[in-house]
């Protein structure tokens, strides 16, 4: 599969758009369908696609393991951090109304950060799972 010209060309064409679409889904999630979970899975699927066609080693050099592992934990921390931020600013845990002077803007900001946290975790976990299975297969052969 590594030497299939059609696949490589098509993948090169498509992958930037898949990743861009993931980001669009992430940041446009307030107005259209979208959000952290969807964007995370689409992003991970795009990178897995890359990994399937160009090989896992290439993917590892693009998105190294340590980055993925950091993403794994960072997402949950961002999410929890939003909650703590609300707590520090005098509200309840995960209360977004206090994040800005205007409660509605505070909500927007809270949702934004929470979605980022979800995105980072989901993308990280999916990629990590893929890496784990892929590298297992390598050692067996």
């Amino acid at each position: 599969m590594m030497h299939d010209l059609v696949l490589r060309v098509v993948a090169k064409l498509l992958i930037p758009f898949i990743l861009l679409f993931a980001l669009y889904v992430q940041f446009h999630g307030d107005f259209g369908p979208g959000g952290g979970f969807q964007a995370g899975t689409i992003f991970a699927a795009g990178i897995i696609f890359y990994g399937l066609i160009f090989g896992v080693d290439h993917t590892r050099s693009v998105v190294p393991d340590c980055v993925v592992e950091t993403m794994l934990a960072a997402g949950v921390l961002i999410y929890a951090g939003v909650g703590v931020a609300g707590l520090l600013l005098g509200g309840n845990y995960l209360d977004y109304f206090v994040l800005d002077h205007n409660p509605v803007h505070g909500q927007h900001r809270g949702i934004f950060w929470v979605e980022i946290g979800v995105f980072v975790t989901v993308a990280g976990v999916m990629l990590k799972i893929f890496y784990m299975f892929a590298s297992r297969g390598r050692t067996e052969e």
Binding site: T41, I129, M132, F133
Partner: protein
């Protein structure tokens, strides 16, 4: 009958999943069955939330009826959690394969039995000597 068509489909898929999980010995086949069961649950949640003539729950001025957003939220998270747990189950299957050399449930059980019998015999022999 027609009003409950969606439920019947859901139950059908659910039982298909259940049948795979019970009847098949292959662990990966079992995971697929579990996933089919899971998708039927998605349908079970989403279908009652639909309103005929409604649109997706994205607010806009020109629409007045929307489908219920709450099941969508629940199932959205459930899908992602579902794939994570599916991967966990597959990882367990892979480890079992490495330890036993097979992922057929029956063979694993017989292997376990033989190992237990051998250990019991061994302990007996040691106790006797």
């Amino acid at each position: 009958m027609l009003e409950h068509f969606s439920y019947i489909i859901t139950v059908f898929l659910m039982m298909a999943g259940l049948f795979i999980v019970i009847a098949r010995g292959n662990l990966i086949k079992k995971m697929i069955g579990l996933s089919v069961f899971q998708t039927s649950v998605y349908l079970l949640y989403i279908a009652p939330g639909k309103l005929l003539g409604g649109t997706a729950p994205i607010l806009a001025k020109q629409f007045t009826t929307y489908s219920n957003p709450l099941p969508h939220v629940l199932i959205l998270t459930a899908i992602v959690v579902g794939v994570a747990t599916l991967a966990l189950g597959l990882a367990l299957a892979v480890r079992i394969r490495e330890a036993y050399g097979t992922i057929e449930e029956d063979e694993i059980l017989t292997l376990n039995h033989t190992v237990e019998a051998a250990e019991a015999q061994h302990a007996e022999a040691r106790g006797g000597s």
